[in-house]
Subunit: 487 residues, 2 copies
Amino acid sequence: MRRSKGALLPPIQAARPRRGDIYHALRRGLLEGVFAAGARLPSTRQAAADYGVSRGLMEEVFCQLTDEGFFQRSVGRGTFVSPAVSRLTAPRRNGSENRPPLSLSARGRRLISAAACREPAVPVPFNAGIADTSEFPCHRWRQLEARAARELGREALSFADPRGLPQLRVAIARYLAQFRGIRCEPGQIVVFNSTQQALNALSVLLLGRGDAVLIEDPSYLGARAAFGLAGAELKPVRVDEHGLRIGPGLGRAPSARLAYVTPSHQYPAGAVLSLERRIALLEWAAQGRAWIIEDDYDVEFRYEGQLLTAIFALDAGERTIYLGTLNKSMFVSLRLAYAVVPERLVEPLADLRTQFDGFTPPVRQMAMSLFMEEGLFSAYLRRLRVLYGNKRGLLTEALAPLRPLGWYWDEEPAGMHLLLRHKNGSYVRKTAAASRLDLALLRSYRLRHHGHDDGIFLRFGALDKEQLLAGSRALVAAAQAVPEQAR
Amino acid sequence: MRRSKGALLPPIQAARPRRGDIYHALRRGLLEGVFAAGARLPSTRQAAADYGVSRGLMEEVFCQLTDEGFFQRSVGRGTFVSPAVSRLTAPRRNGSENRPPLSLSARGRRLISAAACREPAVPVPFNAGIADTSEFPCHRWRQLEARAARELGREALSFADPRGLPQLRVAIARYLAQFRGIRCEPGQIVVFNSTQQALNALSVLLLGRGDAVLIEDPSYLGARAAFGLAGAELKPVRVDEHGLRIGPGLGRAPSARLAYVTPSHQYPAGAVLSLERRIALLEWAAQGRAWIIEDDYDVEFRYEGQLLTAIFALDAGERTIYLGTLNKSMFVSLRLAYAVVPERLVEPLADLRTQFDGFTPPVRQMAMSLFMEEGLFSAYLRRLRVLYGNKRGLLTEALAPLRPLGWYWDEEPAGMHLLLRHKNGSYVRKTAAASRLDLALLRSYRLRHHGHDDGIFLRFGALDKEQLLAGSRALVAAAQAVPEQAR
């Protein structure tokens, strides 16, 4: 500490302090309560001498602190610490003991408790629901991105259409017609960063607080989070081997405003919704002027057989919204998904989307449309089907020793996850705990219809062959190690 | 139409139809009600002959339609159209006359009515609140993006930390320390796509439905949209030449959970919040355990003088959340912004963020951190300050003829917008209408405190010199053309 007439000035390490050093040292002193409020400061001449700097420099610092309101200067009397400074409390020491609890809202606590959409930092068996990118043509993709950036030029920096880049909307419409049998205009497509973002926007746009929503039980946690964000009331409807049991659901919530379904491959149970039920769902929606959200989240990964006609394609009444994502088929950091909606919904949805995060940057949209138009996407999808099909084969083969123990799974050859089930839920949970793997239980996807059974949801997308086999071995060993009387 | 035993099959244009052509033609017939429910179809032999294709191919199509539930086959009797098909209604013709109204929620209608965050497709005077990119080093940026993609390799495709890329968080913390006098740990920073996204996440996390929020009046429309999304109740607090009048606001909402302020450059009125009021705000927050959101949206564009110390830096009680954006200083499609929060808030905020749209792709985060670390960002900011300072000078010079007519504006040399005011609001509105420009009135930013005055909010960021001058001329001419008795 240097002594000078007036308050003590804080020391400065630098041998030749600069303006910023002195300003920050004085300000820190003010914030930390080093100066008493009302205390008189040394003259700028004195302070300059103490710090070994020019008086002009010191004058600048004093002026700034005066402009900011920290100092008050009185002609002929000198410079004083403002009384307001005494109301700045000293910074809390780093102890967390007597800090008040975090004031989050009850809704905030509820929404984060599920952490529904946070993926693990490292994919290990069996938490890897993201895409396998080992065969992704990275180099080709980077070339397309560079080409897109060149072609867009400075336009790439500007505000892009919040409905999506026109080229990408055209490419998606063509893809849907060719591979999914869905006919729609490019103008009916709204591009999002993710299905989750689309679900949030749709929930807020279509649902009022307290509105009832029919949801599959078990169901996708992200959808529940979206409807929770909108304050909607969930009406769980049981899922059986033909998907959502639309009959009982109707009885329980005749006035629901919306139904959320994953008809191609129910998440997480794997069932395919029958035509009969698709039609019943459409009839229900038409009657009650309700909306249907059809989430076709992994429709690209059906290894055999044909897909059923999408509800969107069956709908003549403009009640269905079709959701697709490119983040699962391409790579998770692409951040491109889309909603196909009745034309009248496009502008409201785009307006609302801008209130979520503006718009999707145009370069990756353009690169994606080039990837599709050049046939690279369909070629890559064919490779992925083989890749995931092989992984699924490997997995079910490795899990075969579980069959004699009463475990079973859906034979539907699709997707990048597998639901391993057993009628004895307590046995399932004992196995999961003993395996020491990062496992999600079927139970955590269920809302109301808890049976005695349970299951383990194996997300194998990004796992390689070794991880897959090691994980399976651990799981089989754990299941076999549970004492027989507990199975 | 071809005649065959059984129902009529729809015609196909293709001379040598493929499997997909026949499938889609039949399915379209089913969806459009061409087939009567229960009608008998021709045999596959007959149908194959009619279409001139092999019987095997026809068999495949029939099988698929049967699998889907459209057809029912009965051994020895033939193939029939499923009764369920009659419940598919024919597609609506394109007339919009007798379509029911769109069933949006009241909240949805309210949120989109402001279209608060949708930027115009083309920047014209004076709707151009986005960045000027004419001097942005595009080529250098693309190089950095390419380098970032190379360095990240396949990691670039994977799930990235929802709190933000570590390198970028470090670079932002350093930037804040050097240019804003804010000391924080990189671990206190959460990266978002936009301030708007951060505001949405914070609102939902911190506010319950019906919680009171102190908001500046006039205020940023995006913040209002975010608090509206959370169902909070807005408590408008008047703004004067020293910013938010914290006294009256306290009286009106002692139990408010949060205050939203733009202390460096009030949006849209331009005032700087005084130290006295900053301290009063902190005292209020500490007393009621409320949060303060400090939105420093355009702090980079102060052309002269010093910034006041941020509220965040004055706060020893962990009540302040600091928001900054790179979309205004770099370019609007960058989609990078950040929140600096008390450490305990980081994980909850990151969890919630994943429920909005997952995470921000890593490549552009890495490129941004390189841009900052190589000193390119601070160099570019210096150029921008000159650029916007010149634009602002040009604008105020061109608007000088308005002064004798009683118009006035904030002399604070900052930002990429200017609020042009007049005490006679009706004159302001007449001028705006007569100018035929795309103008936003101060009135539309106000919540409660409507005076007799009004203003025109000129957003000049992306306008070039010619647009700026043409717009100013049109405005001056319009103001002069209003009859004297109406001024």
